[in-house]
């Protein structure tokens, strides 16, 4: 069983749950940016929930399947069609041998997840099939898909019931405005209290540099820094720190101007101050933020972050329960 890539789409990569344990060497976790959607896609077709799927950004690929199989598309609304016939999202889709899957441009959300029964069967690299393009690691030859690629598919463990669906309330919400909860900290003491209040009160706009490494946000007021003598080795800009590790989800603000929220392909460290970190429960949402979407940061406590984490885990449990074979 294989899939021929006729057109690669805007940016399609193989992703799974990601890899752990190499961040200290500059290799980030990678993996699907919206884990709730990618896991649901896998569960719909009867795969292990952390199996390898295709993550399709904004405009999906055109793919031809060698054999009859079952697929599911979750996340962004990207209008899948089989041989020109429109198909539902968040449901099991039967595909015949030789049929071709196409997508439209994302109508809501930014990333669709395509799971195929049996999973995308590229070799594991450092314990994961996820693509880390900067390091040419994992996925298909360490890079996004290209026309002419052939994707191997694993053996399906079972045939999924074709009436299986993910109900509305368990889908990732796809809105034009987003609230990202963050825990303040790291270097927020470098910013004046008034300026920090302004930062948290504003609506930012997702810029064009919004990818798996990080999301750059525009349109807000530049930060005002507390005066200081630059520490040795940091650099003269008030936003410079002695190069340190960046938490996944951290919000760095180079020169105090445009915040960047780091995601699953994050650069693992560098010399810019960070004002806080988006909580783990809200990382999935970032993957569904389109360019030009509005974003507000909401300051929460760690206790609130942990509550939200439990809510996300409960939501995932409901998806598992509902889609159990």
């Amino acid at each position: 069983m294989k899939i021929d890539v006729k057109k690669p789409g805007l940016l399609t990569t193989v992703q799974d749950r990601g890899r752990s344990g190499y961040y200290h060497l500059g290799i980030p976790p990678s993996g699907a940016m919206d884990q709730l959607s990618s896991r649901a896609a896998n569960l719909l077709v009867g795969n292990d929930e952390g199996g390898a799927v295709l993550e399709c950004a904004l405009m999906g690929p055109e793919l031809t399947f060698s054999d009859a199989t079952h697929i599911a598309v979750t996340g962004a609304e990207m209008m899948p069609s089989i041989d020109g016939e429109a198909q539902p999202t968040n449901a099991v889709i039967a595909v015949g041998a030789g049929q071709t899957l196409t997508f439209g441009f994302a109508q809501g959300g930014a990333r669709a997840y395509l799971a195929v029964a049996g999973g995308i069967d590229v070799p594991e690299a450092l314990g994961s099939r996820s693509t880390y393009a900067l390091g040419a690691l994992g996925g298909l030859d360490g890079r996004p898909l290209q026309a002419g690629d052939v994707l191997p598919v694993g053996r399906a463990a079972s045939v999924p019931p074709t009436d299986r669906q993910l109900p509305d309330e368990l889908r990732m919400p796809l809105s034009k405005e987003h609230e990202l909860r963050m825990v303040r900290g790291l270097y927020d003491h470098r910013v004046t209290p008034d300026s920090m209040e302004t930062f948290l009160g504003e609506t930012w706009t997702v810029g064009s540099e919004a990818d798996r490494i990080g999301y750059r946000l525009k349109g807000g007021t530049p930060l005002e820094f507390v005066p200081r003598t630059p520490p040795f080795g940091a650099g003269d800009d008030p936003s410079n720190i002695v190069d340190a590790c960046y938490p996944i989800g951290s919000v760095q603000v180079p020169s105090g101007k445009e915040p960047i929220v780091l995601h699953r392909d994050a650069v693992s460290g560098g010399g810019y101050m960070m004002v806080g970190t988006v909580i783990s429960a809200d990382m999935d949402r970032i993957g569904q933020m389109q360019p030009n979407a509005g974003v507000r940061f909401v300051d929460v406590t760690v206790e609130e972050a942990l509550d939200a984490r439990r809510e996300r885990a409960a939501r995932l449990d409901r998806i598992r329960h509902l889609l159990a074979c």
């Binding site: 390091g135 040419a136 002695v242 190069d243 590790c245 938490p247 760690v302 972050a305 942990l306």
Partner: protein, 295 residues
């Protein structure tokens, strides 16, 4: 070693504990970070998923469903309090990296990005030499390659080492980063920013000043070179590096050997003592280099 009270614990959301040992760079802060993170790693605390030492800070990623952050902090504080009495020695290795300074490839790249530079009328290395008070580029290269460096952090992208030079602070080279980062840097460029030298492991964006290039790969997910056959990344924090200036002929020779899979990187085991270095910051690094000749 003196214990300082400057350690600052701060949260990176619900999954990261970020620990700043010193606001400014120092070997003492680097060593404390390395000793603390090595000890944390040895304890295999359930729930710890990533331990990332950096130049003067470190970060621990954890699963809050398994490990309470207050417990993690208490463990780290306890480790740090013991580190205070421990002699700062490190069993590590010294590695010789050949560098072709002022090579044509970084030169071509830096010329393309002159409008992003502090001094568009000179090259990166001419600028760095001048602002650090060196009479000419040759004497600057002598200073850059005369004393070994610590790998004080690995990261940014896969396997990129940040290095801090083993000299007294008043002799340390400092240069700003580019005004705006470049969108291109040749693979294996030897760069400089703040008080850190680095080797770019892959081609890509970068903001450090470019001084030269090494023909030796330091990252390869395909494991082609001998020194990368077991793992894609060569460097780890605590490694000691010495740069050896080479000319174009030797660069071409080494590159050809690398491509034939016939190049052996010179390395030797070595023990570093912070106390001995601090007692004799000029003589001790020179003695460390002798390990390469003994091997």
């Amino acid at each position: 070693m003196t214990t300082t009270t400057s350690t600052r614990y701060t949260l990176g959301g619900d999954e990261h504990l970020f620990v700043e040992l010193s606001e400014s760079m120092s070997l003492d802060a680097f060593f404390r970070g390395l000793l603390i993170t090595n000890e944390l790693s040895a304890r295999s605390l359930a729930g710890v998923t990533e331990i990332c030492p950096a130049n003067a800070s470190f970060q621990v990623r954890f699963d809050p469903d398994v490990l309470d952050v207050r417990r993690l902090q208490a463990v780290l504080e306890e480790i740090e309090s013991r580190i205070g009495d421990r002699e700062s020695t490190l069993d590590t290795r010294i590695v010789e990296i050949p560098v072709y300074y002022q090579d044509p490839w970084t030169h071509e790249t830096l010329m393309r990005f002159r409008e992003r530079h502090q001094d568009p009328s000179s090259t990166d290395i001419e600028y760095a030499a001048r602002i650090n008070g060196y009479a000419d580029v040759d004497s600057f290269i002598e200073a850059h390659s005369g004393t070994p460096w610590f790998v004080s952090m690995v990261g940014f992208v896969a396997g990129l080492p940040f290095m801090y030079q083993m000299v007294e602070r008043d002799k340390q080279i400092q240069v700003p980063k580019y005004l705006t980062p470049r969108t291109d840097t040749p693979k294996q460029t030897v760069g400089y920013g703040g008080s850190f030298s680095c080797i770019y492991s892959v081609r890509g964006a970068g903001g450090y000043q470019m001084f030269g290039v090494t023909p030796v790969p330091i990252y390869d997910p395909e494991h082609k070179s001998d020194h990368l056959s077991e793992f894609a990344i060569f460097f780890k924090p605590g490694d000691i590096v010495t740069y050896r200036p080479i000319d174009r002929a030797e660069y071409d020779e080494i590159l050809a050997a690398v491509e034939r899979n016939d190049y052996t990187l010179r390395t030797a085991p070595v023990t570093f003592s912070l106390a001995e270095f601090e007692a004799d910051p000029a003589g001790y690094p020179a003695r460390m280099l002798e390990a390469l000749d003994e091997d």
